[in-house]
């Protein structure tokens, strides 16, 4: 199977062509404001570099930080209505109560509390009030809002009210986008509601972005299937991704860490991904990113997604280097993607970390004569400062005192010289495009979510059955059987049903079958 992995970052769009487990070619292109041009450029360049015909490509996998960045930078977000069903309960903490004010303002901060919702045991808190919802629909229409997030109390136990409310809004407001919280999150009202609202505010953007990806692929002549990677490192098809853009959150770090493991062949390590503006550091255990155990914030909003535990610092290839009173300060400000015009080596006026690396003679880039004035002492102190910043965050991510290797990837990897904090540094081939490799090797998952009567079959047998079913689901989705691992097991007792009924959720993931 020939596949292309693409990583659309804030600065660069990277692409790789892989044949089975071999990376044939990798390229970097600039991300463009319209997204599509950058993807087309990257696709064309990587096809040319790999000497492949577009028709030979079986599948394209895209990882994108576009949606995360939109929330973090508060741009391109649609005015959104958050409708919560649960009155009289939950009124103490209305929708978006724990959001940063600027993000709330960016999406209009429109929240409604309505009747509905269920108790933990499925009983109704209060019946759905159609007239009330139609009144809200009127108000939503008057405000010119066209995307709604609906969250009902205990919808992961029974999602009926969310569905009914969704139908009422769809009928009253034709063409409106509707996100149901039970499709995205689990128990924990505020976190699930937050995820649903973020998803809703990205629906306009996701339509444009997915369409841009589709056009870019068509324009290059590729006829293969097209997937996006989600936060757990598995794939979702384009139509699904358009409805659930929020599931792409944190897929960037996941892809870069999985790519680093794949390229280096090392499964236990610290991964440092150095970009233009920031470095992300996380740890890899058996080839998988370590997951954060506590509620993860995205753009200042608490969610309950499963995400890799990644620590970021403001250090990258474009970071400003400033000397003040004998001390050298590196970052967190950066020239970012403007490095190609603003860095000294490219004829600009700003001293960046890349300029210092070129001046040291360790790497050839741009015009070396433009940095000839930097003294050896200055170069050495800057280098020492960079290494101490990296050492600091590597130490934070260490799982144990064992001397794990550090895998350094990303375009800014040229900053690293020698071991970090005494730990061996590995810079694998194609290190600059590890993100895209991670997307290309993204896995396929199979999930079951079933209710078992434990009084009849017992818990062990129920779990075994669920694991078998998840494995089969992963195989039929295209996973290689021998690579399948059970990554998540959760059983939730449903106290209100007889026979010790328990809802069992199991997720199995495996490598895409490379035939």
């Amino acid at each position: 199977m020939i596949r292309i992995g693409i990583d659309v970052g804030g600065t660069n769009t990277d692409a790789v062509v892989m044949d089975g487990a071999t990376v044939i070619a990798g390229v970097k292109a600039a991300t463009t404001a319209d997204v599509m041009t950058g993807v087309v450029n990257a696709l064309k360049a990587v096809l040319e570099a790999s000497k492949m015909e577009a028709s030979a490509i079986d599948v394209v996998m895209i990882g994108t930080t576009h949606f995360t960045n939109a929330v973090v930078q508060r741009r391109d977000l649609a005015k959104t209505a958050a409708v919560r069903l649960g009155l009289p309960a939950t009124a103490s903490l209305p929708p978006m109560v724990d959001w940063p004010e600027d993000l709330k303002a960016a999406i209009g901060g429109t929240g409604y509390l309505a009747h509905g919702g269920n108790e933990f045991d499925g009983r109704v808190i209060s019946p759905l009030d159609e007239a009330e919802l139609l009144g809200i629909a009127e108000d939503i229409k008057a405000k010119g809002i066209n995307t709604i997030a609906i969250t009902s109390v205990f919808s992961p136990v029974t999602g009926e009210f969310e569905k009914q409310a969704g139908e009422i809004f769809a009928k009253a407001l034709p063409g409106v986008h509707i996100t149901l919280s039970s499709d995205i999150g689990r128990i924990g009202l505020l976190e699930r509601e937050n995820a649903a609202i973020m998803n809703a505010c990205l629906r306009d953007l996701s339509r444009h972005v997915i369409e841009a990806f589709r056009k870019a692929i068509t324009e290059t002549g590729i006829k293969g299937r097209f997937y996006l990677t989600q936060n757990d490192g598995t794939l979702m098809d384009a139509a699904f991704a358009e409805k659930f853009p929020v599931l792409t959150f944190a897929s960037g770090p996941t892809n870069s860490m999985r790519g680093a493991a794949f390229l280096s062949g090392v499964a236990d390590a610290i991964v440092v991904d150095i970009g233009g503006t920031t470095s992300d550091v996380g740890s890899l255990h058996k080839g998988f990113p370590r997951q954060a155990t506590v509620a993860v914030e995205v753009g200042g909003v608490r969610t309950n997604f499963r995400m890799p535990d990644v620590f970021s610092i403001g250090l990258g290839g474009g970071s400003h280097v400033v000397e003040t009173g004998g001390a050298i300060k590196v970052g967190p400000t950066s020239v970012g993607y403007r490095i190609v015009t603003e860095a000294l080596i490219f004829g600009g006026k700003t001293l960046t970390t890349s300029d210092v690396v070129v001046a040291s003679g360790r790497y050839e880039l741009g015009d070396k004569s433009k940095v000839a004035h930097l003294t050896p002492a200055f170069i050495a102190s800057t280098q020492a400062r960079i290494m101490s910043m990296l050492e600091d965050c590597v130490e934070r991510s260490r799982l144990s005192p064992e001397p794990l290797p550090v895998i350094v990837v990303g375009g800014g990897s040229i900053l690293v010289d020698g071991p970090i904090g005494g730990l061996e540094v590995i810079k694998p081939n194609h290190f600059a495009v590890a993100n895209a490799v991670g997307a290309a090797i993204a896995q396929v998952s199979g999930e079951v979510d079933r209710v078992y009567a434990l009084a009849e079959i017992g818990r062990d047998q129920a779990l075994a059955d669920a694991k078998d079913r998840a494995t089969e689901a992963a195989v039929s989705a295209g996973a290689l059987r021998s690579s399948i691992e059970i990554v998540d097991v959760e059983d939730v007792p449903l106290a209100y049903l007889p026979g010790n009924a328990t809802r069992v959720r199991v997720k199995a993931v495996g490598e895409l079958h490379v035939g």
Binding site: L93, F120, T293, V294, S400, D491
Partner: protein, 360 residues
């Protein structure tokens, strides 16, 4: 009256973190209570924390609590007026003005709920509680050992229902209130255990809200100072790390409104090759290492994320998490025969006596 300190909205962060540590896996996630306290403080003004010795012996002190299953509290948020309604209704029943608010349970969500009432009622909050940790049943407070009756008690739900209980014992209060709470949808808010300042001076576990605040600060400062957060907490609490491992199985069942279950761990690093088992009934109550029971209630067992040191609740235990388990000594009041009867392992149906981990 001299106040220990004034608690503003931003101070609730540390208190909630510390409350989760003393929550010993249960008591509910303090996040929701923290947000409610912050809303109340922003609207009604800050809360003054007071030492119990500052109150006159004839003062009337009333604790407040949220009761129910932790999962329900993170999903079905309160309507907002329940606590103050219960508090006011009890005040009316008692026929006199309440002078100070008390915390019933310094672990979990109830480390934050008294701040809501103290802010709304404009009353001082006593620095202390009735447990020094979290426990699942409402008779499990040091107040019970001092002969304080839980009733008259007022129980309020999100729908506006309220219930007054008069019972023959605190154990009966628990039974009846629990049944009512399940009917109310798994969570209710209550005002109970009214007592005089004189009794409170003997009956409470002192200083626990300040301890919550200090634990939160310790974790925050450890993070800022790049110090191992678990070690910082261990030092602060006079605790021991009893295991370091990864969860390989969790079994849960809901019995009579409680989240019961067992988590099994396999050891990593210094505990590689060892096994560990935690039994919980809302809170972590018993720890077994390599098949041997090593810590039991009333001593505190708490579980922290091995990296960040942040407390992990029994509800949040997930397959694959890497955690450190800590044991810490309970308040001495619980180690008396009466205390062991109330909260010892046999009460919870475990066939074992209390094990002295801390060699007192």
């Amino acid at each position: 009256m001299k106040f220990l300190r004034t608690i503003h909205a931003e101070d609730m962060e540390d208190i909630a973190t510390g409350g989760a540590i003393l929550g010993t896996g249960g008591g509910g996630d303090p996040y929701v209570g923290k947000l409610m306290a912050q809303q109340a403080i922003k609207q009604y003004g800050p809360v003054n924390l007071v030492d119990i010795d500052e109150l006159p012996d004839d003062a009337l002190v009333v604790p407040v609590c949220m009761m129910g299953a932790p999962t329900v509290m993170t999903e079905k948020l309160p309507q907002g007026e329940e606590l103050i309604n219960a508090f006011r209704a009890l005040e009316q029943l008692l026929g006199r003005k309440i002078d100070a608010v008390l915390c019933g349970e310094a672990g979990g969500v109830n480390s934050t709920t008294p701040f809501v009432v103290a802010a709304m009622a404009g009353l001082p909050l006593v620095d202390g509680d009735g447990m020094g940790r979290a426990y699942p049943e409402l008779q499990m407070v040091t107040f019970t050992m001092h002969g304080v009756s839980a009733t008259p008690m007022v129980l309020c739900d999100d729908k506006g229902n309220s219930l007054v209980l008069e019972t023959v014992s605190n154990a009966w209060t628990e039974r009846l209130a629990r049944a009512a709470t399940v009917e109310m949808g798994g969570s209710a808010l209550l005002a109970f255990y009214s007592m005089s300042g004189a009794v409170a001076k003997k009956a409470i576990v002192r200083g626990t809200l300040t301890l919550c605040s200090e634990l939160g600060r310790t974790l925050r400062e450890a993070k800022a100072g790049h110090v191992d957060p678990v070690n910082a907490i261990v030092d602060k609490l006079d605790a021991d790390v009893i295991f370091h491992g990864r969860i390989k199985d969790i079994e849960r069942r809901t019995v009579g409104g409680f989240a019961r279950g067992t988590a099994r761990f396999e050891g990593v690093e210094e505990w590689k090759g060892h096994s560990f088992r935690l039994d919980f009934q809302n809170e972590f109550l018993m720890a077994e290492r390599d098949g041997e029971i090593i810590v039991t209630t009333p001593d505190l067992i708490t579980v922290l994320d091995a990296e960040s040191g942040l407390p992990v609740t029994a509800d949040a235990l997930r397959y694959g998490l890497r955690l450190k388990a800590l044991a810490m000594p309970s308040n001495p009041q619980w180690l008396t025969p009466a205390g062991i009867d109330l909260v010892g392992p046999r009460y919870f149906g475990y066939d074992t006596d209390y094990r002295e981990y801390f060699g007192r």
